[in-house]
């Protein structure tokens, strides 16, 4: 009888099977060992199968809390993991993962991937995640004592691979493929992603904040890396001027496409008209949603005045509920992005680091502190594009200078009364 009767049922059906991948690894590692290769953990993948079978039987995980494990000089990037079946299945007693910082846009050469595979055949389980949901290349499962030698091997690869983020630090930034392959890219996502990653290596490798912080970069509002939902700081390409139209190409589409029903009527603001001959866009009324451009990529292009919108605060529901990022900076021109993003994010980090509560994401922190304070900290003017509609309650704080001189104010001041309106200006001074 099979040792894994439940897992044996997983490969049923046409979709590629993770169980098959684990089995293939188990066989490959044993074979490599038999061929005399230096394989430190030949039984690890097989051990994982044993443990998973037990989880499938028990309907629960058998992984324990990770302790803190890392490599010399770094505080993050490794997720410590131990099995609660360590005595029964010593092969997976330690099963730590290493987040390897992926190249922006997930482009690889086979030469680089083979080096990553060779090192992992030697030092780890031979299992990977391509990729983790933050974007890292994930080495799945090794022992504490292998972390350091493996990282040293990564340093010597050509080109070398570094470790990504985990814990309360900057998480590995990730980007859509942008200008590498996509005609919609409104700024260079790969270049900015690389630039931010390099600039903030210290923040990435050494947890130091109340909680994690994520940058994700999409070249246009289609948002192929789901930045608006998954990153504290989403940089989404957009444009300010008119959509570029090639009327001849529109006519080509018109030969087979129902432009009236599929483009004109689906524009959320009714900004498009089509008389069978000319497509007109009321650009004053266009919200840059991308629908018409997606429909007619040969005929329509984003405008020429390009840049990005920054949305702030997105996160999953723990603790205060899920948040989709909201507009913090409506537009930064493409050629100012590197500079401006840093000018905004550094004071934000400093403020959040000083006043944020333990495990409070930036989105929750800003809810607590208010948008007014935030705009002050980052030196940004308020813009009507930041809101769906203006506030529905009148409970506002003003600045001291906005109050008129009055007897009441004098009296409050004399009595040493503190209220937000007065304090706000004190901070300013």
């Amino acid at each position: 009888m099979s040792e894994t009767p439940l897992l044996d049922q997983v490969p049923d059906g046409p979709w590629p099977s993770f169980v098959r991948e684990i089995r293939k690894t188990a066989e490959g590692m044993e074979k490599a060992k038999a061929e005399g290769k230096d394989v430190k953990m030949p039984g690890c993948a097989k051990g994982l199968l044993k443990q998973l079978e037990i989880s499938y039987k028990d309907k629960k995980t058998h992984w324990k809390h990770g302790g803190i494990v890392s490599v010399v000089g770094y505080g993050g990037g490794v997720i410590g993991r131990y099995s609660d079946l360590g005595e029964e299945i010593p092969e997976v007693h330690h099963f730590h993962t290493i987040r390897v910082n992926q190249p922006a846009g997930w482009f690889y050469t086979t030469k680089a991937l083979r080096q990553l595979c060779d090192a992992w055949e030697k030092w780890g389980s031979g299992l990977t995640n391509m990729h983790g949901s933050t974007g890292d290349f994930v080495y799945l499962g090794t022992k504490s004592e292998h972390l350091q030698p493996l990282f040293e091997e990564m340093m010597q690869m050509d080109p070398p691979f570094d470790i990504g983020g985990s814990g309360s630090d900057l998480r590995t930034p990730s980007a859509c493929m942008g200008p590498a392959l996509c005609e919609f890219a409104c700024y260079d996502t790969l270049d900015l992603c690389y630039d931010l990653t390099m600039e903030y290596q210290n923040e990435l490798h050494r947890p130091m904040w109340p909680y994690k912080f994520k940058f994700k970069l999409s070249g246009c509002p289609n948002d192929c890396v789901a930045a608006k939902a998954r990153s504290d700081f989403a940089i989404i390409g957009t444009w300010k001027d008119d959509i570029q139209i090639d009327q001849e190409a529109v006519k080509e589409y018109a030969k087979w496409m129902d432009i009236e029903n599929e483009v004109v009527k689906l524009c959320p603001t009714g900004a498009i008209t089509w008389d069978g001959n000319e497509l007109k866009i009321d650009n004053k009324n266009c919200v840059r949603c991308m629908h018409c451009i997606n429909k007619m990529p040969k005929a329509l292009k984003p405008g020429k005045e390009r840049g990005a919108t920054v949305c702030i605060g997105a996160k999953a529901p723990c603790v205060e509920g899920a948040i989709i990022g909201w507009v913090a900076i409506p537009f930064i021109p493409a050629d100012k992005l590197k500079e401006r993003v840093k000018e905004i994010v550094e004071p934000l980090w400093e403020w959040w680091d000083d006043e944020g509560k333990f495990r409070e994401r930036v989105g929750e922190f800003l809810w607590r502190k208010g948008m007014g304070e935030f705009l002050r900290v980052i030196g940004q003017d308020a813009d009507v594009r930041m809101i769906k509609h203006p506030r529905t309650n009148p409970f506002m704080y003003f600045e001291k200078s906005e109050l008129r001189p009055s007897k009441v104010v004098e009296e409050h001041t004399k009595r040493g009364m503190k209220f937000k309106t007065l304090e706000r200006e004190e901070e300013e001074e």
Binding site: P16, F18, F95, W106, V225, N261, R288, P297, C318
Partner: protein, 369 residues
């Protein structure tokens, strides 16, 4: 410990710069692409202003993949693609070639060696959309807090929806994602259909473990509902079951607060989130099925529920209409009917009192029957 570091020693050197890994044709036409066309499921033709053309050929993977599979993919990329390949944001792999005549061979070889299917693309101009891969997390394969497995459920669902991946016969994009606990490491809170692992019982305090491993005040403070009291004298913690909503935050802080119950852990199903701005603003996903039990290895109840929801949308949505647009047109009352789902009191938000919960209540008397 004054050991001399070797000459190659370095830290904080960052990832390889992306341009080292770009194919020649991509470097040459970087930022100068003119348009793209999906020429068949899985194959996108991209044409540059220079007239240069590349084909990206997309294959679904199980995300958890073996180094031996990666090497097989490398062999194929060496043979046909000058040693270049890339991964996508949804666990798919893409081989890149400038030679149209190689496409059939690439597809055949990838399928024969790895078993990975070609597909996962969508053709907006022709309103023919394929289903992409399910973004997912670790589950029982690697994490300590899951309420459900990840890979096994994804496999069972994708087996059932396979034809929608390899063909393009959906009316619009449909993003499916899965997270194995409420931490939601995947993008499940903004997907057309999502599956989230939930616990239903409070942590079972392990006094001994709490004493050995946990900082009492930080653990108590980690509870969003203030359900944890420090019992200073006994040096342990106590949970107020009335207040606990089973989020697992305390367990993340302290191994002495496990909240696993194999019979009561399970999956909630959410729908109608989205991230792209096309036509409709981004939206959070909303719970439509409160709980489905864990049924390894093939999760039949969960799979059939997902399929019901998926088909209710796929068979009734108009062209380009994503789940949220579809439901806003027909109304939630009709959606529950079409998807054959029961609406129960669990689905009315009572987690937070106003303004958070109130924002989701219907104001006025405009409803459909």
């Amino acid at each position: 410990m004054a050991t001399e570091k070797p000459s190659w020693w370095k830290t904080d050197f960052g990832p390889p710069k992306y341009d080292l890994f770009l194919p020649e044709v991509v470097k040459k036409n970087y930022g100068k692409w003119a348009y793209h066309e999906v020429i068949r499921p899985g194959v996108i033709k991209r044409v540059a202003e220079s007239g240069d053309t590349v084909y990206t050929i997309r294959f679904g993977t199980p995300r958890l993949i073996s180094i031996y599979t990666i090497r097989e993919l490398c062999d194929i990329a060496d043979k046909y693609c000058d040693g270049h390949l890339r991964w996508t944001s949804r666990h798919n792999v893409e081989l890149i070639t400038t030679d149209e005549s190689k496409i059939d061979d690439i597809i055949k070889e990838v399928q024969e060696t790895t078993g990975f299917p070609c597909g996962g693309t969508w053709d907006a101009p022709h309103a023919k959309y394929g289903l992409s891969n399910i973004i997912h997390t670790q589950g029982w394969v690697h994490c300590h807090t899951p309420a459900i497995d990840a890979s096994g459920i994804v496999k069972a669902i994708m087996d059932e929806l396979y034809e929608y991946f390899t063909e393009m016969k959906l009316p619009a994009l449909c993003r499916i994602s899965l997270a194995c606990c409420a931490n939601m490491c995947g993008a499940v809170h903004a997907s057309d259909i999502s599956i989230v692992g939930i616990h239903r019982t409070p942590p079972l305090v392990d006094d001994d473990a709490v004493r050995r491993m946990c900082e009492l005040p930080t653990t108590a403070a980690s509870c969003p509902n203030a359900a944890i009291k420090v019992k200073a004298k006994e040096k342990t913690l106590e949970v107020d079951g009335e207040k606990c909503m089973f989020c697992g935050n305390c367990y993340t802080m302290c191994p002495g607060m496990p909240l696993f119950d194999p019979e009561n852990d399970g999956a909630a199903v959410l729908v109608a989130g989205k991230v792209s701005g096309a036509r409709h603003d981004p939206e959070l996903s909303k719970v439509v099925v409160p709980w489905i039990p864990n049924e390894p290895p093939r999760w039949p109840t969960l799979v059939s529920t997902i399929k019901k929801i998926f088909l209710a949308w796929a068979n009734n949505a108009k062209k380009h209409e994503r789940m949220i647009e579809f439901i806003e047109r027909i109304g939630w009352e009709r959606f529950f009917e079409l998807a054959d789902l029961e609406f129960s009191w669990h689905l009315i938000d009572d987690f937070r009192v106003p303004p958070f919960a109130y924002a989701s209540y219907r104001v006025g008397t405009n409803f459909r029957w």
